[in-house]
Symmetry: C2
């Protein structure tokens, strides 16, 4: 004897979601049973609607409900700069700063031979094409500071530099307020090798 | 600028679920966008179906898609014994043992003045009524070993004992294979006070 069939099915589907194990799936499903039916219907509708309506911006591959995302449609953005990120969440993180006024390009991943991710699996060809047609003055690579992020940045830089565009990468090093003593070796390594003349 | 509206709405709804914070809600939503649409539709349908079809067994208040749950409908179960648990998951845990052949009664919570849970909020009145009409020989209290579990067990025992039914509580103490050295004080306390004559 276990839980009744429809509930069991829901638990099994929840269990397949990332970061949700058997126990959290059970807890979630039992929680949802106790909520008003309208709330569950709304959640179900949101799931399907978000899946159906959200697509990738045809220009920068950020998420959008239209052909072009809000940023690409904004005429006040500076089209001379393209900031390249791995994930849509990185766009949101940079936008929160309210400091960057250029455009973005979302790769949707990083080159990773270990995980079988090749350059062709990412929006790299599209970036090269964009640089060719839009002719920005600068491409800022904001991939993370790790093996995959470094490899992806180097790969893109090698493609773009011959095209005459300025290619930069964001700075990596000690976080503000971080103590040397507590920094991991990798961060400290980036901080040292990225040192600048005073 | 943030994520597009329907996606943002989904993230906000996921964020309200227990154990899911802002970051996991974002991760989950972005994961769901990458899944095939049929899979998302199936998940949405499961949500609504589980919510609509699952209700409480009218006799024991375990979960069921019918008036009576699978256990209460099974004529081979021993109706002389009722095992009282706090949560539907406890029924599944005991059933996994394949050792207990009696019936259950799910309280759907524990008495907790701190959280404002009164006896009337639980299926305690229904248990008393069941004992009155079904006249079982034994009621086994399987509430957890903590302040609320103890209080609930004592409260129920005081109500049922005058009715002439045998009231027992499952044993609490050192888990099998557990070392005294590593046991928390509460468990060790239960083990000591529950000691038995050899």
């Amino acid at each position: 004897m276990l839980f009744p069939p429809t509930l069991r099915q829901l638990m099994q589907q929840l269990e397949r979601l990332p970061g949700i194990g058997t126990r959290s799936a059970q807890r979630l499903a039992l929680y949802l049973l106790r909520r008003p039916e309208e709330e569950i219907v709304r959640l179900a509708e949101s799931l399907v609607q978000a899946r159906q309506r959200t697509r990738l911006c045809q220009r920068c591959f950020f998420l959008s409900e239209d052909d072009l995302c809000e940023i690409c449609r904004d005429p006040s953005r500076d089209a001379d700069t393209i900031c390249v990120v791995a994930d849509p969440r990185d766009v949101v993180a940079i936008e929160r700063l309210e400091q960057y006024r250029g455009l973005y390009h979302v790769l949707h991943g990083l080159i990773s031979p270990a995980e079988g991710v090749q350059p062709e699996d990412l929006k790299i060809g599209e970036l090269v094409e964009r640089v060719r047609t839009e002719r920005p003055r600068e491409v800022i690579l904001a991939t993370p500071a790790n093996v995959e992020g470094d490899a992806t940045a180097l790969y893109i830089a090698r493609l773009l530099k011959p095209m005459g565009v300025r290619v930069t990468r964001i700075a990596y090093g000690m976080p503000v307020g971080g103590e040397l003593d507590y920094a991991d070796a990798a961060t400290l390594g980036y901080a040292l090798s990225g040192r600048q003349e005073l």
